[in-house]
Symmetry: C2
DNA sequence: GTATTATTGCAACTAATTCGCATTAAAAAA
DNA sequence: TTTTTTAATGCGAATTAGTTGCAATAATAC
């Protein structure tokens, strides 16, 4: 199933590129200047993830956030797993350039990591 | 608002105590031998969290899991933030005795951490 | 025993995400 | 350039997890 170029895809990608924060479907929709269907936005975002263009973070609010972050693209696989920070005040999630370090017990195979720190961000203090 | 002792509370606590894994509301309900309302289970679990008897983990599946784990009770605040592991095969979350280590940029205040590794657990390999 | 109010059950509700299906439109083929 | 193929989209309905209002129940204090 080959990917196709569509205005929808471009628009959503542009929004993500211009954002320093990870965005929820809702946030993406609000920042779009064209009207795109909710389900479609989810589908596009998930396709981006499949293609490793973005990554998905799940907050302790249980919501999905999507980010295309600099670290992810330029650095090695190791730092690909980095911490995220969710500010309780401005309710945004951002990628921190802080690698996730851990060691798992024998016999465990880690495929992914979802690490979110919560608190108050620099701007909101 | 003082807490009261009820059979419901005892039953749910017993289930959590006997479990080596973190449990969702659904999982708790299934393991109970008495019938307790869904909303009530959530309320009891959240009360446990308020009272620091349990802690809540949110998986990348967006669901809430509750655990009363050994490390949490006997160790210091520092290790209270530990990694969790969610097995994609048996779909359970467990507390790892692996501390979460990080350093945040200046001006950030961390209040909580939700760190979940995903993959295949020892048993399922 | 009586009063107070935390706890519970039930049903309705909310919010986030997904899904089925018909329609549209990229891109490949002719 | 037209035709064909099928990925992408829109819409509405469905699903899932969790919450909330409210009346009934029951633990605890008096
Ligand atoms: Mn990132
Ligand atoms: Mn734990
Ligand atoms: Zn903030
Ligand atoms: Zn497993």
């Amino acid at each position: 199933m080959n990917r196709r170029n569509t205005p929808t895809k471009e628009a959503i990608l542009a929004v993500l590129s211009n954002s320093k924060k990870a965005l929820s479907q809702d946030a993406v929709e609000k920042q779009l200047n064209i009207k795109i269907n909710r389900a479609t936005i989810y589908r596009v975002l998930n396709r981006f993830c499949e293609d490793k263009l973005t990554h998905k973070i799940v907050g302790e609010d249980g919501k999905q956030y999507f980010a295309i972050c600099k670290p992810c693209n330029k650095l090695s696989e190791t730092i690909t797993h980095h911490f995220h920070f969710r500010c309780l005040s401005c309710d945004t999630i951002e990628c921190l350039q802080v690698p996730v370090v851990y060691a798992v017990p024998n016999g465990y195979e880690v495929k992914n990591a979802n690490c979110v720190l919560t608190g108050i961000c620099k701007n909101c203090k």
